[in-house]
Amino acid sequence: MTSTRPAVEARPAPRGENLLEIRGLRTHFFTQDGTVKAVDGVSLEIKYGQTLGVVGESGCGKSITALSVMRLIERPGRTVAGEVLLDGRNLLDLTDEDMSEVRGNAISMVFQEPMTSLNPVFTCGDQIAEAVALHKNVSRGEAWDRAVEMLQHVGIADAERRAKSYPHQLSGGMRQRVMIAMALSTNPELLIADEPTTALDVTIQAQILELMKSLREQNKMAIMLITHDLGVVAEMADEVAVMYAGKVVERADVDTVYEQPHHPYTQGLLASIPRLGEKRDRLEVIRGVVPNPLNLPAGCLFKRRCPFAMPICDNPPPLRDVTAGITPVGASRHLSRCWLTPSGGLPEVGVEPTPEAAAESAAALTVE
């Protein structure tokens, strides 16, 4: 091939609207001190060719969700419930052989630390060629050619020579490009990027974000972008899921989340970041700290830090539709895991939840 742009293979016609559907995923870690419910009832969808941003602070379960999708959870962790449907096929039911066929082929992953994710004793070209040879029926020479082509594709100058470099000979930005080249070498339908730019400097981060945008365009792939940086999500994502203590607390399209956040945690996060060009005397703060995963509060997990906390918050709130007005066709609904009314007011319930609300919250607790 002479073109720097790899041919996009014909994809099977989509069976539904969603490429990936996660339903009621629960991944727990059984430690000596107790069970850590790292992911506890997460449901997410990613549409074909769309980018879902998963935001949250450290320990909220965003990386464990991604690893659960890839079935890379190791002991003492285990996915105890839920479904991960890729094109309607439940990945959690697949045999290990079938799963390794999916991994790296249909779904690829880019990790935060490009240095620790690359093998230091093989050249970059060899590592990409290995990924190609594993998943495509090609000769070694063809795999190597594909590796060089991919390096060109991700904007590495002098790719022929760089393919023969070892990871330590490259800068952080270059290594992350190599990781992306490797992840895209098999032309996946879904790229899971776990904090892909967190370890990079801002000017290099800008390069990688622009690269991911153009590759997303060319390869028509969906991206699950995991990050704590609200700026990166605003720039990249179509849809946003905000996670807190193992649960999705808010989900909507990117404009809605940033302009009309419903959940007090999302509101607090957006108000607490300093923004360029908007100088304020004081930053808003979310008081307190993330709850200890071994000792989560009963009811709403955010209630101890929430400025709106009220008696009903002792009951776990369900993820409810709070869509304001009419949802445009094709756009997703606005979901929030909070007892506040859709307009953000206090619910008209007293100390006890209404029977319907109690039933709804009980339903939210059961595994789908």
Binding site: T203, L230, E235, D255, E259, G277, E284, F308
Partner: protein
């Protein structure tokens, strides 16, 4: 120094200080720090040098916060350490409150007969009471074998507060000031979260009642919701104790929030220095524009015409000739790659009152104001502000009065 006066000084209500040009607290002149690269047969001969900091000069005024931004490897942390003399300087001069901390001549000056000066260790001990530091990593910067009381009390003890009861009273007072529970005085660092540890680090710096604190990336290791708590704390303490900060960080939005003036570093050099509003709205160095353009804006509707810099930061062991930024500079490309950029080192000079820049073509940038505004997103922010379709960023969370008492 008597014991009583330390406590009194630490707890004394300070006077608000208005910064003025004549009120320079610390003055940094031509500070250079090279790290030798060892090589050769025995690994002992010097085969080159990493030019971490290469001739940086600025003043910090009393009561202000000077922000220092730059990417990794630009020398900002090394500069902070050299100012505190935690690292020996290669050459340069630092004067703190009219007293020289060091004045090391360059090779040429030494030939001309200039003598090297370093404040004595005894002198440094007294200077360091006024010169404190808060480090980036709240996990590595606290001794795991010392209790919180010992960590915070160590400074006052070294500086003469030997009475244990008075020391404990001071530590408890400080714990309250930084928002920690006073009963945690006997706990150990591992019992605290990252944000709480950073508060301990801040209390330790405050314990000797300093005038000047170097904050080296104090919030970069913290989660977003904790970051704002620590930034507000630093702000409050500055007002309460009349502190002066040198705030080193790579996050431009954080620096904009906390600083009065901001300096931008690139490869060991200060390339721009101005008042914070001036720097963020009217940058006069192409690197500053590129940095501002690179940051993703946490508003999905703001579109920037992003200037993406090519390539990586060159090695500080072999910096490019002339202007160190010329290998990646978009402005040089726009101007048809003038020879001057690669040949001649630009002077760090005044381009407007109180605004210094080290670009040969800083004056030319005034003609590109529209382009620069588009690149850093200001143009789009202005457009959004003028259209009514856009909702303002979320209002601060203000809780309504709950109908019944909130749960305990």
């Amino acid at each position: 120094m008597s014991e009583g006066s330390v406590v009194a000084a630490a707890l004394e209500a300070p006077v608000a200080i208005v910064p003025s040009d004549d009120d320079v607290l610390i003055s940094v002149r031509n500070v250079v720090k090279y790290f030798d690269i060892k090589g050769g047969l025995l690994g002992t001969s010097s085969v080159g040098a990493v030019r971490a900091v290469d001739g940086v000069s600025f003043d910090v005024r009393r009561g202000e916060t000077l922000g220092l931004v730059g990417e990794s490897g630009c020398g900002k942390t090394t500069l902070g350490k050299v100012i505190l003399r935690l690292l020996p300087p290669t050459s340069g001069e630092v004067v703190f409150k009219g007293e020289r901390i060091f004045d090391v001549p360059t090779a040429a000056e030494r030939k001309a007969g200039k003598k090297s000066f370093q404040a004595s260790n005894a002198k440094m001990k007294t200077i360091r009471r006024d010169l404190q530091v808060v480090f980036q990593d709240p996990y590595a910067s606290l001794n795991p074998r010392m209790s919180v009381g010992e960590i915070i009390g160590e400074g006052p003890m070294v500086h003469g507060l030997s009475n244990k009861t008075k020391r404990e009273a001071l530590v408890r007072e400080l714990l309250g000031k930084v928002g920690l529970n006073q009963s945690h005085i006997h706990r150990y660092p591992h019992e605290f979260s990252g944000g709480q540890r950073q508060r301990i680090g801040i209390a330790r710096a405050l314990a000797v009642n300093p005038d000047f604190i170097v904050c080296d990336e104090p919030v970069s290791a913290l989660d977003v919701s904790i970051q704002s708590q620590v930034l507000n704390l630093l702000d409050d303490l500055q007002k309460e104790f009349g502190l002066t900060y040198l705030f080193i960080a790579h996050n431009l939005a954080v620096v904009e929030h906390i600083s009065d003036r901001v300096g931008v570093m690139y490869l060991g050099k200060l390339v721009e220095l101005a008042d914070v509003d001036e720097l963020y709205t009217n940058p006069r160095h192409p690197y500053t524009v590129a940095l501002l353009s690179a940051i993703p804006n946490p508003n999905p509707r703001v579109r920037k015409k992003r200037l993406v810099l090519k390539g990586d930061i060159p090695s500080p062991a072999a910096p490019p000739s002339g202007c160190r930024f010329h290998t990646r500079c978009w402005l040089r490309e726009r101007l048809g790659n003038p020879e001057r950029c690669a040949a001649e080192e630009p002077e760090f000079r005044d381009v407007a009152p109180g605004h210094q820049s080290a670009c040969h073509f800083a004056e030319e940038m005034t003609n590109m104001a529209d382009e620069v505004a588009a690149a850093i997103g200001l143009a789009d922010q202005a457009r959004l502000a003028s259209t009514s379709a856009v909702v303002a960023p979320p209002a601060p969370v203000s809780p309504p009065t709950p109908p019944t008492a909130p749960p305990a």
